[in-house]
Symmetry: C2
Subunit: 339 residues, 2 copies
């Protein structure tokens, strides 16, 4: 067998099979790598999403690991845990557009008080639903990578004044500012930063309290960057007038609690559920990536990566070597986020 | 006294006063023209919104009527009912951007199944919330006037392929198609048509059933153009996969029923309330116009119109003479829509 795809739910398996050339012999598993795995991997090339824990015993037998996700914390954790020198690939760009459009949708939903508009419809009542327009408002995008760049494009497209915050200035036509300056001038701040040791807790109370009164805040990258209890306080104090979250601090615990109704909520999870009741807060279940187009691109890019690896021995999008050189994230494997 | 403003609620009165030059002597009334009015108007120039019924006895004493709305059906009805030759002005463009942004928000909300996403959050569940992206989708804008032109601009801005349907081709860079062709190729159809004898019931079942399966439909102009029971049937049959309505057929009766919980619903009103329960349907209370920016523009443009009329004797935006030449709408005055 050439390759095995773990965590391939039926819709994804169908899409993968549609793209896979006949000469590639592949197997599929709906679930992740079993918790009691065989001593050797079923194939020298394995593809996972983010729930699989790769056994260290497999490291010596594996030629390549492709994660079908744009995040790769969990693969970095595997290499750090098990050593070895397995080639690792990922899918950097399959969902950038989907996530960016979700960020724009969240922004407009908050700006127009849509949650309250929907409630008010039942009494055909217009009290307190005067919104604001996007045109000429200042959008600050923190983290201008692949997703952030698409958010910049959309912001410009709807007539916003867009500023970027990033260490690397990838977009020549974009005006970059420091994070502090961005926070002080933003009507809307969108967090599209990757979660690293440097960004964990970066958008905390002490920074965001310097924002203009009534700023809107949207996070579509990782909840750990903007502590939930800080956001709650900023909303209560009026610094923020709207919060859109697709990602959550302690998301695995929160998701598990919401799915099963059991388990313990962390303090941030409790704060999230309190915020959920507020009409000024919009929450979606880590779903920004989830479009038909992104699912199709994911299947196509997964197959392209697998075929390239089988033919040439390397991935078109290898996980950057720098990623393996820094201290890996401290979360245990079970706490890894999904996408 | 130079002018009286009827239907000026407190927030609007404050905005009007902020813009009004000191030399203009104006009075304000929170309510519409009283149902038992004085024999003569308090001033030769009156300004109304859309709830006032101008007495015919006033016609000979009035020099000008300014309606602070972009619709002017009710003023046409007054001139037709009472004859006379009073100058009539309106505010054609104060809310075009606000309405257009609302149309884009509705489109994205439907495309990403946001209503279901919000519900699913409570179980952190992703079943059946895979959406579609705007990029490269075909947006057909029916009615490319001031509001429609802004919708075109926004659609292009978010990367959609935009086609226009209109008798008059105002935008040289836009590709225009017939309504039939537009319906047959649209991923999203937005109704921005004015309500006239020609457009009443235009977007009916027999036309829209020729759409691509799963089209999204948004109406931000007048509910009478797209009969609600037809939309309901098209959703049930799968021709439509999402419906966004800010305006409603028989809207005064529906709004009155929702506000008071009393009165009789028309069949279209019943259909609307059945549709409201569907996760694929988004309804807002005729609120697309309602942004801070539009309210401010409305006050500024109202004052500019009043001042120009007092100084020069004519309105910067007179109601076009053609409007008075066609048969007026058949609705009785009480059925006139609000904005």
């Amino acid at each position: 067998m050439d390759a095995i795809f773990y965590e391939a739910f039926s819709e994804e398996k169908r899409a993968l099979l549609r793209h896979l050339p006949k000469e590639v012999k592949a197997d599929f598993s709906k679930g992740p790598i079993p918790s009691k795995p065989s001593p050797k991997p079923p194939a020298r090339l394995i593809s996972i999403r983010t729930q699989s824990i790769i056994p260290c015993g497999w490291a010596a037998h594996l030629a390549g690991v492709l994660t079908r996700s744009s995040g790769y914390d969990h693969v970095v954790a595997f290499r750090s845990r098990c050593k070895g020198n397995v080639s690792c690939g990922y899918l950097p760009s399959y969902c950038a557009r989907a996530v960016a459009e979700h960020a724009l949708l969240m922004t407009m939903t908050l700006a127009r008080k849509l949650k309250r508009q929907m409630k008010n419809f039942t009494a055909f009542d217009r009290d307190d639903i005067t919104g604001t327009e996007c045109l000429n408002r200042t959008l600050v995008v923190a983290g201008v990578g692949r997703i952030g760049s698409e958010i910049v494009r959309l912001g410009v497209g709807v007539g916003m004044r867009v500023l970027g915050v990033d260490l690397v200035k990838r977009l020549p036509s974009l005006e970059y500012v420091s994070l502090e300056e961005g926070v002080s001038v933003a009507d809307v701040l969108v967090c599209a930063l990757p979660l690293t040791i440097q960004t964990r807790g970066l958008l905390r109370y002490e920074l965001l309290r310097r924002a203009r009164r009534g700023m809107l805040f949207v996070n579509i990258s990782r909840g750990e960057i903007s502590p939930t209890r800080d956001l709650k306080r900023l909303l209560r104090e009026g610094t923020l007038s709207g919060i859109g979250l697709d990602v959550f601090e302690d998301e695995p615990e929160l998701a598990s609690f919401l799915r099963s109704g059991k388990g313990n909520l962390t303090p941030s999870g409790k704060a999230a559920l309190q915020l959920l009741k507020d009409d000024r807060v919009l929450m979606t279940p880590h779903n920004a990536f989830n479009t038909q187009e992104a699912l199709e691109r994911k299947a196509k890019q997964s197959v392209e990566s697998v075929v390239a690896f089988l033919r040439q021995g390397f991935f078109p999008d290898p996980i950057p070597e720098e990623a393996f050189e820094v201290t890996p994230p401290t979360s245990p494997p079970g706490k890894i986020l999904e996408e």
